[in-house]
Amino acid sequence: MEKITCKKCKKTINENDFYQNLKVCPKCGFHDIMNARERILSTADMGSFVEFAENITSVDFLNFYDLKSYNERLSEAKQKSGLNEAIITGEATIKGIRTSICVMDFNFMGGSMGSVVGEKIKIAVENSISKKIPLIIFTASGGARMQEGIISLMQMAKTVSCINRLKENNIPYFCVITHPTTGGVSASFATIADIIITEPGALFCFAGPRVVEQTIKKEIPQDFGLAQRNLKNGQVDIIAQRKEINEVLALLLSLFTGQIPKEENKI
């Protein structure tokens, strides 16, 4: 059996146990980052996920380059993540209840939000409005995609506008915060969800810990931006272990839609 080392407690664990435990260390409970496909697999009913607009891709419209050009970074990100962008968008059932679902992937340029993320969230929102089904978004993002300059900032406006329309249509919207969710994503669609669920250990804040430390010129508390502190500060509704998230989402979907979850659809 393959052995791996937990990134947090450094203990040796069986790779199988680790993956069967949804990438959570069975010894210390550390929630390792899940990629978008893994998340879909662990959340949606088996075979129920239909992806939308998977081939929509980013354009280097500013001819942006820093140490690398934007195009180069995009190619690298595609290779690293196996995705076309930092978000997967589609529709699925969770315990038989239909929902639109978006999952961000931190492996794609740090889950940064550019035009494609904005557009794909819009597509998901419109799907929810037209079919009157809830929306679930799993966030994981370092913030806006600087390589798209001001247009990445405008994605905050764009996504909030979409969610605002969703809300006016009384469509339920749940957000699951995964590690890390900061900057432009936390300051736009993530924080205006009807219900906010967070994984333990997920950093969820606007300004990152280092920036804050530089501003206040002293050490920040160890739990800065973490789930327990966010709960205490009234910023999230529920802290859910990864293995509970499917249950929690099914329950919320059920309460908000009045549909009864079906157990047989569980993976």
Binding site: E54, N55, I56, S58
Partner: protein
Amino acid sequence: MEVDKIKNLPKSFLKDSLKSIFKIEKLKRITGFTGVHFNDAEKKLAQKIENYRHVEREALKTWRIVQLSRDEKRPHTPDYINGIFEDFIQLSGDRLGMDDKSIITGLGRLDGRTVAVIGHNKGKDIKERVEFNFGSSMPQGYRKAMRIMEIAQRFGFPVITFIDTPGAYPALEAEDSGQAGAIAKSICTMFSLTVPTITVLIGEGGSGGALALAIGNYVMMLENSTYSVISPEGCASILWRDSSVARLASRALKLTSRDLFKLGVIDKIIYEPAGGAHNNPERMIRIVRSYLKNTLKKFCSSKDFDFKKHRAQKYEAMGFVNLTDRQKV
């Protein structure tokens, strides 16, 4: 220095390349006078360095605008309020626990019409600037703004916002009281208004802290103001891992009024008196007043116009994507 890596602009590129430029200039002259020729790699390098010089010139130009946009002598929100609105009355407080003075809110009259006014307030002297966090707002500031937006909505007052902030305040207490959510909710509230909203970027338009108040049916930007997803310094430090190349970052970010107009993010560039707004603040304020007055008049006379829908459509259309493969859903 290897040709292939130049475009990646390594950490010390600026210094290195300036040295190289000196060498290449010498080489060129040598060519001209001596007929000595260079190989392809050398020519490519020379060309890249030429390009780089152009980049560096542009970066300097942009950087000057960044500096101008931050100039303490520029007219600030209180100056515009005093010079533009009659019967202005300042309103205070979020009703939740704080009055964040880094955002001014109130009601006033322009051209006989009552309007709600919201603007970042950097402070007029060092004491005020420290007190107002140099125009960086706490969540409470945005919550105060939302309270005034709701008054505007209920009573049909158009909302006019002045943007001038380095960004939302990145402090522990700001995070603990929900900075991210306050910004998101402020944006959301602006989208929910059925009254017209007009935004004027008058100085620094720093990231989410600026955007929170900047969802305008009509967005005007002073010639030498900036509007950016991140400060050039922050961008340089993250992408180049070297905050000293902020000038390069400022150019790359496309944060000037001209860039933003081209990108369709703003609706109007307001040109400044020669040398910048600070050279003739009275005139600058008169100019802004006149644009605001005209815009307001136009908006108030179009009764059936759906300002809310217009904002949604405008901002939801923003973005550049490769749509060829877009599936219909």
